[in-house]
Symmetry: C2
């Protein structure tokens, strides 16, 4: 398998398969199936509304990607035949068969699957196969046998911190289906807003949101939309922490006195687990939500319980002592046990973040680890099923390769017994919504989420980073044809910043910066974040990972490894450096005229300085001169300056320029 | 007024007003009104559903353009107050008052209008005023008094040759509203497809379309959508020519034997005006359509009647003789008279193309001139009202400046008496749909249509081309925020052509070419055009007018006028030329791998040759050398080669490069 992937990467002349996630088995054949106006699809086996809808969407999407309006002659042999042995579950189940086999020959293609769900996965693979060639659009001949490595492959979207409308969620569902993810974990409530209509407790949204929430009808429609694309929707109602929004309408649930506002301030309120009225409320609420959400799993959150309100409440402390509990953790465990009984009474399996792990809880629950792989392994050792989210937080602005390197079965999990390993169901990427709006959320999720999807679907041996980046780049465009806006929104946002000016120079800068990583953006936030403030700065528009910086770094690497002799690489490096050196002069007038860009002036100056330093270094190298120490000192000072965070962003081409500068000063020593 | 515009163009440091169409009167004031989160709108006078909807869309659009979520404090003073004295007509009327006054001061803005329709126009002006500044978003202080020059400002969209779905039409309605156009002329039937459901004659669409048509419910919804944006919808059913699609279901209406297919071939069928059954059909059909379309005007086409079927039909020739008619033209006039009676019986005013002009028709009809300004003037002299479309055909791929230079009151119309001039109601741009799909139609219409909109709304004295291009460029981005895709679709289409390759080099080529002009694309079409073939070549993706070529031509002009001494201009010229010279090497591998791009290889080579020639010319000029004759001969041959049409496109930077080459050979003679 690995050798085969290496073949893909080297054979530039033959068709490269841009599949993501990489299927379990891929065997290339001779020739290719042309995709032209006579293309058509026939379903011969089992079919249902989901598969019929999927076939229709498949044809629309293929027509859009190729620009070909299909006009098959009546009675002509279909180019693609689909045969599914069975239908699918009325409510999608964890572990439902998603396997398929796809054979493409020059005469036609055949897709077979045990279930219509598997056939839907195979259609997505077919879409990714189709490429433009010198003679037309075509799918290369290939035999694919495929099934997922993990049964649970999810994406969490937080809709509390910033409300995300259904049309935006729907296009993300389309993206998930394209990369064969199968669970949307819908983080529906948090301190900043309660987003689901409750008919039993209407004040949850009336008081607990800014008016932006989903009605129950909308939710049912959305769940159907996801089901039709082979995706389960698991709701999360985070308790007992992250619950401020509940208390605007129902302050009696909280452990403190209030009053509460959505904007926050003061200590974080927590639910009061000592009062029976809390459980009466939750009995009714969970019963209502369990009916609304058909999925078998129900997420109760349980993370980051800040115990301050419990500490400050004498009655709660009294309760802890009276029940022989040691501390707040025991109180949370008690709460979780009560919660679990309610959840299971409603025929659901409880899921919670890793803090809920406690021996008093039944082994049926699922633990989702955000704190590390150790806690995932610890849960499995105790017999609990688990999901990995540590390492898959999209909001931390990591490069794709860093997410890609994290495997649910690696590290502590590698020491588990085979039986224990079976308890690891898969994982979920997480898009927390502190810094996203409907406008830029796609670019925070995509295309990096495709890489996590591959980690969870494909073999652990599929791990070549160069191949991953090449295929991720192809998926990036495929996803845009689906309606996702991760590419196009950046252009619009830069255009807004630049007024109606030319954005060529602005794009040069935006191409080489990334947002600060992890939680470092929070450093600047003074007091509670205003979740209604505009997110229209350059940091909000740029990609989490700079492709240009990666390519430039690779070029400098190639050049250095050639002993600074690779002239083709040098020419390209000079091209970049010259553009950067000259860019500040072009960009400066644009920056000056825009309230949104003024803060980026130092960044632009640093980039120009880097360009100049790199070019001078190359001049020394070309002339086989050793750069003088005084020059080196000066350049390294400028490089240090360029390393500092500016406007909450980082210049990602500092290290390779430093490499050039250092090469120019040591070569002839 | 003209001086004031000149001020705009020169005063780069102060806020430039990017208004298009330019209002009748604009008086700048001191300061500006900040647009921030506290922005809100109050309607104090008359309001109705249209204005309420418009205010809501206005706020959404302003929020989208600025990225600011508005959160005004309850009870705070509204930033913009709207007062309309009266409502608007239930069916929008020709000549309904669209005037408004808009005063913006640093403390707030006030919009007043006699009607809610005028208030809607004023809101569009306000949107165009808002700009980004060094301190925030703001509308500059200004007093605007505005009303249209012409009452009829239309856009024709042909939906027969290629079906255009309603969502695409709706975003074009939004674009029309943004530039204050007020009539959508909906060309609903033609040889290639009948696009309106008729309950009386269902075979019109069942047999006469490829299955793509609008239901009556959809049409009613669309008309409401347009009404809410202040736009009338006038249907056109083109008769007696351009009617092939009618005869698939109802061959008895035609003058020939058939059988007919949508694909065509053979001679163009025409309706039979000699049979009473034809009029019985039209009585019923027009009665049905007159109810469906509330507009007071009803377009019957009447253009390009190819008389061959009439000539070939002895019964028809007999009818002509029996009725003392001289020729086919008289027969068409007879048909038009019968038609006019039916139309007016249904309380509609008949509109037709200029061929319908005939003294036997009543003076109430309106003549739309596509053949020239002479026929518009001729109609007015005979007492007929008229519309100008000659010069406004967007499908001819003219530059915006060429459309802009054509005025309905110029040329022959300038000789009319004041009373006759009143008969000229305005004009319509036309988007015929032979070469457009839903994917690229926006870029064929926009932004050039904004320039025609200005010609029809603004004073004839507003005609400075430099100012027009600057403001058109601003409107280009405003329209994209509305949801039009004239910018973004080009990127997607280039991406498709390039597979998943880098499109930087492809964009360089696409930026300097234009489609062939007028009807020259048809030259290559052998036999009937296949209207279901993909439109995915580079010609389908590029803009009708190259901004880069215009800028480059201006630069060379500046350089030449400086006696080849302007170094800043030369540096920019060299930048372009270097990019072009080096581009073919980068683009070649991309072109080779794509069936859609192979044909563009000669174009790419020509561009590189032009880049090299231009650079060499500059080198001679810089060295104060006279380029040798042999070199000149060689370059001019290459330039001649570059002038030829390639892949149905033209390289638009040939002339300025030729200018450089010629300058380098004469300077020191």
């Amino acid at each position: 398998m690995f050798l085969f992937l290496a073949n893909f990467a080297s054979a530039q002349t033959q068709l490269q398969l841009n599949l993501m996630p990489m299927p379990a088995s891929v065997q290339p054949g001779p020739g290719e199936l042309p995709i032209n106006q006579s293309f058509s699809v026939a379903v011969t086996g089992n079919h249902d509304a989901s598969l019929d809808g999927e076939v229709q969407r498949f044809e629309t999407q293929l027509s859009r990607q190729t620009g070909i309006p299909f006009r098959p002659k009546p009675g002509a042999t279909p180019a693609l035949t689909i045969h599914a042995d069975h239908g699918r579950e009325a409510v999608q189940k964890l572990g439902e068969d998603e396997s398929y086999e796809l054979t493409v020959a020059d005469s036609g293609a055949k897709l077979t699957a045990p279930t219509t769900l598997g056939a839907m996965r195979g259609l997505q693979t077919f879409l990714q196969l189709v490429q433009i060639t010198p003679t037309g659009f075509a799918a290369p001949a290939v035999t694919i046998k495929d099934q997922p490595r993990f049964a649970w492959r999810g994406l969490l979207i937080d809709v509390s911190r910033h409300f995300i409308p259904l049309d935006v969620l729907k296009r993300n569902i389309d993206g998930m289906a394209a990369v064969k993810m199968n669970v949307l974990h819908w983080h529906l409530s948090d301190d900043q807003g309660f987003r689901v209509e409750s008919k039993k407790f209407p004040k949850l949204t009336q008081a607990g949101s800014d008016g932006q929430f989903y009605t129950q009808d909308e939710i049912r429609g959305f769940i159907n939309y996801a089901y039709d694309r082979g995706i389960r929707v698991m709701p999360e109602f985070d308790m007992p922490g992250h619950t401020r929004s509940w208390y605007l309408g129902y302050p009696e649930l909280s452990s403190g006195a209030g009053p509460y506002t959505l904007e926050g301030g003061g200590i974080d309120p927590i639910m009061d687990p000592t009062r029976e009225s809390t459980y009466k409320f939750l009995e009714k609420f969970i019963a209502e939500m369990a009916k609304l959400f058909p999925d078998a799993y129900f997420h109760i959150g349980g993370d980051e319980v800040d115990g301050k309100q419990w500490d400050a409440n004498p009655k709660i402390q009294e309760f802890i002592h009276a029940h022989n509990m040691k501390n707040n953790q025991d109180l949370q465990a008690y709460f979780n046990q009560r919660l679990e009984k309610i959840v299971s009474k409603n025929h659901k399996t409880m899921v919670g973040w890793d803090e809920i792990l406690h021996p008093d809880l039944p082994k049926t629950i699922v633990v989702q680890s955000w704190r590390g792989q150790a806690s995932l392994a610890a849960a499995a050792k105790q017999g609990y099923r688990g999901l990995l989210s540590y390492g898959y937080y999209l909001d931390l602005m990591w490069p794709a390769a860093r997410h890609y390197a994290i495997d649910p079965m690696a590290d502590d999990a590698a020491t588990l017994t085979p039986e224990e390993k079976k308890l690891i169901l898969g994982g979920e990427s997480c898009q927390w919504a502190e810094w996203v709006t409907p406008e830029n959320i796609d670019s925070h999720i995509w295309p990096r989420n495709a890489v996590i999807a591959e980690r969870l679907w494909s073999s652990a041996e599929v791990k070549d980073t160069a191949s991953m980046y090449a295929r991720m780049n192809a998926v990036r465009y495929e996803l845009e044809w689906l309606g996702l806006t991760h590419n196009s929104a950046r252009t619009e946002m830069l255009q807004r910043m630049a007024g109606n000016g030319d954005i060529t120079a602005l794009r040069v800068l935006a191409d080489v910066v990334e947002p600060v990583k992890d939680y470092n953006r929070w450093d600047d936030a003074k007091g509670p974040i205003d979740f209604h403030a505009p997110l229209t700065r350059m940091i909000d528009a740029v990609n989490p990972e700079s492709d240009t910086a990666r390519r430039f770094t690779d070029l400098v690497q190639t050049f250095a490894q050639s002993g600074c002799k690779d002239q083709a690489a040098e020419a390209q490096i000079r091209g970049y450096l010259t553009t950067w050196r000259d860019n500040d002069a072009r960009l400066h007038p644009v920056l000056e005229q825009s309230v949104l860009l003024k803060e980026d002036a130092p960044l632009s100056q640093s980039l120009s300085a880097l360009g100049a330093a790199g070019l001078q270094a190359l001049d020394y190298l070309d002339k086989h001169q050793t750069a003088p120490d005084s020059w080196k000192t000066q350049q390294l000072a400028a490089i240090d300056q360029a390393k500092t965070r500016q406007a909450d962003m980082l210049l990602m081409v500092v290290a390779p320029v430093q490499q050039l500068v250092e090469a120019s000063t040591i070569q002839h020593n």
